[in-house]
Amino acid sequence: MKKWSEVALGVVTSIGGFLEVGSIATAAQGGAEFGFQLAWVLLLGIASLAFLMEMTGRLAAVSGRTYVDLLRERFGVRFFLIPLVAVFTVSLLVLSAEIGGVSIALQMATGMAFRWWALPVTFIAWLLLWRGTFGVVEQGTAILGLVAISFAIAALKLHPQWTSLGAAFIPSLPSHDRARYWYLAVSILGASITPYLYLFYSSGAIEDKWTIEYLGVNRVTALLGNMFGGVLVISALVIAALVFAPRHIHVDRYEQLALLLTSPLGRAGFVLFLGTLCITCFGTTLEIALALAYLLAQGFGWSWSENLKPDKDARFSAAYSVLLLVAATPVLLGMDALALTNISMVLTAASLPVTVVPLLVLMNDGDTLRRHVNGWISNVALIVIAVLSVVLLFAALPFQIAGGG
């Protein structure tokens, strides 16, 4: 039954999808400005990510190979350059936003300006990656991430109207500020469905030595992991809708987010919020730093594993070390963390097609997946996600201009 402890991989991945700084911030902004109305966008993000995780996990379990590995081999270096540059750039930006998220949480806890936290936070993240095995990083983040359950408790304590929340899962148009509404919808999707998540997940499946016997585990992991993250991010939206919206509070500073849990949970809520922000952003920092190193190592055929001695995969280890430092720089320079978050979420949304569309080809490749190729449900889902991703690509910039800020 040891197999089932693999659910940790799904939980970690979904923390990176739904509970890091980007998702908490965009869901709270959505709730504050439009009440429950944007809940359907979250549901769409949760379902999309669950499908993408299941597929890249299945790919890894059946073929013993990661998504990036197959992307380079099947599509050739010329095409590979496009997802490589797009995912690399966007993920590096998000990595900065996450380091910013941890630093902001520490600033709120201590009063010391967030820029001073950038280097200590980055150093601890690096040290964990340098010394810890994949299992330590994975299980540690999953267990500590449970603190985020405080969001669900807070949401329940506020007694939301279940019927109006349920109704919000059906898409609807806003009565005011349409541009802002769609801008937030794009940001929420960008914050939830991020390429580094499934790069990390499929590499994690290889690190954890998944085989074809793990197909069931993979399905349950993708589902449970996303339910965990999904319920909690919906809670964040619900809380913002019930605490911020009636008071007409617009979230334009991170400090305001801390009020999310103080209203329903009091002083303890403040501590729990900071703990959640700190841990989930830190976990996501580890996740993205690894995902970036996996991307480069697998794309260029370097030796890679978070379980080897660092000098046995020197380029891989050097990659996450240098990239962590690069990502810490904007935070160190005191860049506005919320602005950084919003920009990187919109760009992430725009970068989706280059990784989602090739997946459609790979998931139907009988040479690789044999009889485990996509069935019609997965294919319909993937086509919907692909179309959605192309819409996001073209919508991201106009909505950023019309509804951002």
């Binding site: 073929s63 013993g64 190979r65 590995d69 380079r72 081999e73 099947r74 050739g76 270096v77 010329r78 590979f80 350059l81 340098w130 010394r131 810890g132 095995t133 330590v136 260029f300 055929g301 370097w302 030796s303 890679w304 978070e306 379980n307 080897l308 001695k309 660092p310 000098d311 046995k312 020197a314 380029r315 280890s317 050097a318």
Partner: protein, 126 residues
């Protein structure tokens, strides 16, 4: 006889050496041209310069410029005879020692000069 597609099965495939260590990818393939003899696949190429050529002249130019600025003008490309291929499957195994390949220069340099010298760099993880 079973056909092997050079583009589908060999080009861009993960390369491993005789110890199953990952040593890069098949960045390029060369045909051997000799008078009076049929063409044959002769060489596997590994290296950034080969990749850059396949991407386009602009990438070759970009690479050269960056390398000049970094004062690293030498291109380190490995040329391995196709006869060293032992197996073509998910990975392509070569009967070579990865430690001696020119294209592994950066890996060895980083391991010896930087990564291995940082505390914990050559120790088992916990």
């Amino acid at each position: 006889m079973r056909g092997l597609s050079l583009v589908h099965d060999v080009l861009d495939a993960q390369l491993v050496d005789r110890n199953e260590e990952k040593i890069g990818r098949v960045d390029g393939l060369l045909l051997e041209v000799r008078d009076g003899e049929p063409l044959r696949v002769a060489t596997i190429l590994i290296g950034g310069a080969v990749r850059a050529e396949r991407i386009g002249p602009w990438m070759t130019w970009l690479r050269r410029t960056v390398r000049r600025m970094a004062r690293q003008p030498d291109e380190r490309v490995s040329r391995i005879p196709f006869s060293a291929v032992r197996r073509v499957a998910d990975t392509v195994q070569l009967d070579v020692d990865g430690e001696r390949l020119e294209s592994g220069h950066l890996e060895r340099w980083l391991a010896a000069r930087i990564i291995g010298r940082v505390p914990g760099g050559s120790e088992e993880r916990t």
